[in-house]
């Protein structure tokens, strides 16, 4: 018989979703996002806009402030330097694939071709999966974490976020230090 490789949990939730990069709970220093070069942020902005485009009736990366969410995530005390480095390497891989032009200069079809080529490598796929995970977090996590401004993502998907919602002083990394 085929051995099942998945778990089931009575709560209906999977165990920790594994980010394809590295864990967010390692050791590091605060303020790591500040030293990612602007060029990298420009690449990441263009990648996000392609992965989650803005539409008239549906918010995209810009409206969800996915970049703001990612910056806030990088600024979490203890953010894993290895993950920061992986984010940087992934952005560099996108630009390398886009050469001789810059990714930001490409049209939609060209961006799609570049990102699918990146996906074809193991590290590139892991990086893209990580970016997509950040994107859906920015879409659906509480606005206290920097994305989903005023719950725009929840409204789009008719999602009820429940209550009470987390105040800034009780964000997950602050709970961990209690």
């Amino acid at each position: 018989m085929k051995r099942r490789t998945f778990l089931f949990q009575t709560a209906g939730l999977a165990a920790a979703p594994t980010l394809s990069l590295t864990s967010l709970s390692g050791c590091g220093r605060p303020g790591a996002q500040a030293d990612l070069p602007d060029t990298v942020w420009r690449t990441l902005a263009a990648v996000h806009a392609h992965l989650f485009p803005s539409e008239a009736k549906a918010p995209g990366a810009a409206e969800l402030d996915t970049l703001g969410y990612l910056k806030a995530a990088l600024d979490v005390p203890g953010f894993d330097p290895a993950e920061r480095a992986a984010i940087l390497r992934g952005a560099e891989a996108v630009e390398a694939q886009a050469k001789p032009r810059a990714f930001t200069e490409l049209d939609e079809a060209e961006r799609e071709a570049v990102l699918r080529a990146v996906e074809a490598t193991e590290s590139g796929r892991a990086w893209l999966e990580g970016m997509l995970n950040y994107l859906i977090e920015a879409l659906l996590a509480d606005p206290v974490y920097g994305g989903n401004p005023s719950g725009v993502g929840w409204r789009w998907l008719d999602h009820n976020p429940g209550f009470p919602r987390p105040p800034a002083g009780k964000r997950w990394f602050l709970l961990k230090s209690l």
Binding site: R3, T10, G12, A14, E129, A141, D158, L175
Partner: protein, 577 residues
């Protein structure tokens, strides 16, 4: 260390196995100390925050610095794989279930079922099963029944008794708290189930349906399992028991206290619990009696680490039984989707519970399936609304990543379609030689302690019964008009439902604990979590763990005698201090 500090009872671990002992002993006038490795959260630390509960695991240890080693068989088509060993987190397993005062009960969904009389006599009722170490319990259902009833009152279980063919005997006519409010889906399940000749029953919940005991009632926020409760309605060991124990002035809870060794003397008795405090300093506490309740895997680990002059292989382990016969819950799973288009506005109700179960096949008497045999329970529950967990599977399709407008359309279709109902089928996890805990010879945690090494395989019979039950659940969902109904059995364990490893019994050669859950070879050591269970029943274990811990608390009091010592001479401070 304060060399003079001494308690009547030291409880190690504060979840479902620790809370009842601490509360009952403190209530009776004994001096109790509870050592808990995690922090002391309270209602003001629990929010509807999916990053905190689930994705960043704020209420759990870091699996990298507190790992476990895992041995499983390789995933091969013929099921004849060789053993593969690696840290559990590298295999995607997290076996920590709540690292805080109150333990995993803070995060449970609290679908509570009692065991039934047949569960206490599986071997004598159905005979041995090849490749499994099935054993009768050394106590009967009647011994535990008064304590199931006690848990209904003390922890707070809401529900409604409905007669059905496998209803277990009760000493009270109904639950002390009325059922939590029900979603219209519950009524639709009742109608669908009855039309098939089945008996859907309201699932009891460890949730207060009205404020009581200083705790709030359920606020119906729509998120329950995996999330801490912000009103205190959920019957966690912390909210329901430890807060009351502390209020007596006779129970001290020490958070951030990682026990690493129970010291025993030349007579074999335990004299002290050694632990690391928050700063990593070694400390110890002395007591007349010790109760271990760290959840099954960690309980076995602590006993194995606790060698002494009369316990060279670890406490309770003079016959090499500690860690053996670890069990989980076997079973199956599945789901179906109800569309807003078909079911209309009533389906949009949010926050109330589906709360339905079927126990028609708790014993399966179906010739087409084989001889009369043990079956299990089917819980039908709402698909958890946690949005990121629901969205994440949409990122992949046929092995490719999905992004752009296709991803956005998938999200719209999924979130706006309707509501999901999940099938959770529970059968016995048959105990066997290849499911056990030992100490890993090389891997250490952040304190330099040897980590638990788990060998986990499942008995093939789990799958057969799991399929049978899951398919019955699917039949009800289809009858109800659900779409995309799927059902399947699950071989790997639900890592949040652990028990066994220190089974109780009458023979010291084949069990760790006596029928009172006292170690056969150590008179002042009790194990009060789910470790005692030789078999787990075909339900989640938690109610039984609570009930047995209340039962053992009475045994502990009988052993200590009715001469409680003086109360602690100091007041209790801020739990976060």
């Amino acid at each position: 260390m304060n060399a003079t500090e001494e308690f009547d009872v030291c409880v190690i671990g504060s979840g479902a196995g620790g809370g009842p002992v601490a509360w009952r002993l403190a209530q009776a006038g004994y001096r109790v100390v509870v050592l808990e490795k995690g922090p002391w959260f309270n209602e003001k630390d629990f929010y509807k925050d999916e990053l905190a509960c689930c994705r960043r695991r704020a209420y759990f240890p870091d699996a990298k610095t507190e790992p476990k080693m895992l041995e499983t068989r390789e995933d091969t088509e013929d099921g004849d794989g060789s053993w593969q060993t690696r840290p559990a987190h590298e295999a995607g397993w997290d076996l920590w279930n709540g690292n805080m005062v109150g333990g995993a009960t803070n995060l449970m969904s609290g679908h509570f079922h009692r065991l039934k009389p047949v569960d206490f006599r599986l071997r004598s009722t159905f005979g041995p099963i090849e490749g499994a170490n099935v054993a009768d319990w050394p106590i009967a259902y009647d011994d535990l029944e008064p304590y199931y009833a006690l848990v209904e009152r003390e922890v707070g279980i809401s529900g409604r008794v409905v007669a059905h063919p496998n209803q277990e005997p009760r000493s009270t006519p109904d639950f002390p708290y009325p059922p939590t409010r029900e979603h219209p889906i519950a009524g639709w399940i009742d109608a669908a189930g009855k039309s098939l000749g089945y008996h859907p029953i309201p699932t009891p919940r460890a949730i207060l349906s009205k404020p009581d005991q200083g705790r709030g009632g359920c606020s119906y926020s729509g998120y329950c399992g995996s999330y801490g409760c912000a009103t205190g309605a959920k019957g966690s060991s912390r909210a329901a028991l430890l807060n009351r124990a502390v209020a007596t002035g006779r129970c001290e809870v020490r958070p951030h206290a990682m026990s690493y060794r129970l010291e025993s003397d030349s007579t074999g008795k335990v004299v002290a619990a050694h632990y690391f405090d928050r700063e990593g300093q070694k400390r110890q506490v002395r007591a007349r009696l010790f109760a271990v309740a760290c959840q099954a895997i960690e309980t076995s680990r602590l006993l194995l680490m606790s060698t002494g002059p009369r316990h060279p292989q670890g406490l309770g382990n003079n016959h090499g039984q500690v860690g053996r016969n670890l069990i989980f819950a076997g079973g199956g799973s599945g789901s179906g989707r109800l569309s807003f288009k078909k079911f209309g506005e009533p389906l949009r109700e949010f926050g109330t519970f589906v709360n339905r179960a079927l126990q028609d096949w708790y014993v399966i008497n179906d010739r087409a399936f084989g001889p009369r045999q043990k079956g299990g329970t089917i819980d039908l529950v709402e698909v958890h609304p946690a949005p990121i967990a629901r969205a994440a599977p949409l990122l992949k399709e046929d092995g490719r990543l999905v992004w752009g407008k296709p991803l956005k359309r998938n999200l719209e279709n999924y979130f706006r379609f309707g509501r999901g109902v999940k099938i959770e089928a529970f059968c016995d996890w048959l105990p066997h030689d290849d499911c056990r805990v030992s100490l890993d010879p090389t891997l250490k945690d952040k304190w330099g302690l040897p980590v638990a090494r788990l060998r986990v395989d499942f008995h093939p019979k789990n799958l057969g019964v799991g399929w049978y039950l899951a398919n019955k659940g699917a039949e009800v969902l289809k009858q109800l008009g659900a779409e995309e109904v799927i059902s399947y059995a699950v071989g790997n364990p639900p890592t949040n439902l652990q028990a066994g490893g220190c089974r109780f019994g009458r023979d010291p050669k084949t069990s760790v604990l006596d029928p009172d859950c006292r170690a056969h070879d150590c008179e002042n050591l009790f194990v009060t979590d789910g470790s005692f269970m030789p078999t787990g029943g075909s339900v989640p274990h938690t109610w039984t763990i609570y009930a047995n811990a209340f039962r053992v608390a009475d045994k502990i009091m009988a052993q200590l005698g009715n001469t409680p010592g003086n109360t602690l001479g100091k007041s209790q401070g801020d739990p976060h201090a």
